[in-house]
């Protein structure tokens, strides 16, 4: 394909990780004071900022109001300088509109929207630097932001992309691996019940391998969920120290 050896004979990937190893995840909750919830998350070199406003009254046309649950409104955008080649528009193209739609669907499944009828929850995600796995980083960042906003969810939503090279599933693909013609699968998981909130796959893969790949993706998601849980716990500890409890 791209002439790159994605997995060496010794079982190491181009950035030195093992097949099932995730990139380093660093996150911080409550980055901004003005928003109801916000979080910043780095997964390797992919950096995303998520902000949550709401639940609040419906904005704009009231015809979208749902009488039995809250409307989730998402916007995904990329900073114009986030990619190696400058982007002309931060959002509004087909790909980012689709991404917004996917985020919306993911969080409609996870957030307990029925608790807030006739209201709206805005989730805005911005990619500051893109190095593969944009969707999953966005989902993870948005999860933290939703938690920071104090909106109840069924479970953490954790997402991860996995690829399939030489009969081996690779967890958490970076940009170089994504571009290398690998069949990649993005999966958003609610780890406790093993429910899949979103599933998306590109490129060819034989049906028989689907199960292994999904298995690997779910394991990776569970790994992410551990990290997220830690971040949340630490954040709460810090906050409780500050509030003196």
């Amino acid at each position: 394909m791209a002439g790159l050896e994605l997995l060496s004979d010794q079982g190491y990937r181009i950035d030195g990780r093992k097949a099932t190893e995730l990139r380093k995840v660093q996150a911080r909750m409550g980055v901004f004071a003005q928003a109801d919830g916000s979080a910043y998350l780095e997964q390797g070199n992919t950096k995303a900022l998520a902000v949550v406003y709401g639940p609040h009254e419906m904005r704009g046309s009231r015809s979208r109001t749902l009488h039995d649950r809250a409307v989730i409104n998402c916007q995904y955008s990329m900073a114009t300088f986030s990619t190696a080649e400058r982007k002309r528009r931060p959002h509004g193209d087909r790909k980012s509109t689709e991404m917004s739609l996917h985020l919306k669907q993911t969080f409609e499944a996870a957030v307990m929207t029925q608790l807030y009828p006739r209201s709206q929850i805005d989730i805005y995600v911005k990619i500051l630097q893109s190095d593969g796995g944009n969707y999953s980083v966005c989902v993870n960042a948005a999860t933290l932001a939703v938690i920071d906003a104090g909106i109840p969810m069924r479970d953490y939503v954790c997402a991860c992309t996995v690829g399939f090279v030489d009969e081996t599933p690779l967890a958490d693909l970076c940009y170089a691996e994504e571009g290398g013609g690998v069949s990649s699968l993005a999966l958003a998981l609610l780890p406790r019940g093993g429910q899949i909130a979103l599933l998306q796959m590109d490129a060819r893969l034989h049906q028989d391998h689907l199960e292994t790949l999904m298995e690997a993706a779910m394991t990776a998601c569970k790994g992410v969920s551990k990290v997220l849980d830690e971040v949340v716990r630490q954040h709460l500890q810090e906050v409780s120290v500050l509030t003196g409890e």
Partner: protein, 291 residues
Amino acid sequence: MATVQVSEAEKVYILHGIRDDLRVDGRGCEDYRHTEIETDVVSNTDGSAKVTLGHTAVLVGIKADLGKPKPMLPKEGYLEFFVDCSANATPEFEGRGGEELGTELSNTLYKVFNNKHSVDLKSLCISPGEHCWVLYVDVLLLQCDGNLYDAISIAIKAALFSTKIPKVHISADEEGAKEIELSDDPYDCMRLNVENVPCIVTLCKVGHRHVVDATLQEKACSVASLIISVTQKGTVTCMRKVGGGSLDPESIFEMTEAGKRVGKALHAPLMDLLQQEERLGTKRQKVGFLG
């Protein structure tokens, strides 16, 4: 623009406070809020800076691209400004909501840099009429709490300071066709002289006085403000009245004078800070948004 609702009583309180040179957050009329600057925060760019001014947060990324010089100015490179008012800052900016403010800000930036000395455009030229560097200055608004202009201009100055443009060599082959080669060495790069890059000072007329670095609440009390971009030497590169009210000529003269004073005073510590950070070199612990 992100706006706040301020009640009449609050307005009176703010107005009286400013009359006595004491603002709600304890500052004087010509004081800036707590400011944090960090350069080189996004590795995909050639230069970047993040500035927080109170609760206002701005991220600027600069990318240098090879382009063709403008036909009227074949010996110069050029700068392109783009301000992205993202929905992160406020839900009002969702979709195309931020576009209006974005164009307003970027148009002002074009005006601010519309002179010969701010950035040496000639140094951005590679081969006249054919190739030049185009610096894309992309501003990302992350949060707004008033005084966007000042925060953006400080961030742009810092980002330009940290910009490293790779050196290029032009080699001509036998047929005379020119080829451009980028230098492989990442340390072999060109830096920009930012000495003359101006900083914008926004003066908000509140009551009979004017304040520097107004918060959203203070902005809501004022009818008009004046933005002045001042270079280190004190020359003004752009002046503009914004807001729905009008100003007395005398107060404009006063405000210009104050703007120049404040602007001049802003440059020295900013340059100091940037050089200090530069000296730390690669050892510097990058904080970004994690701190």
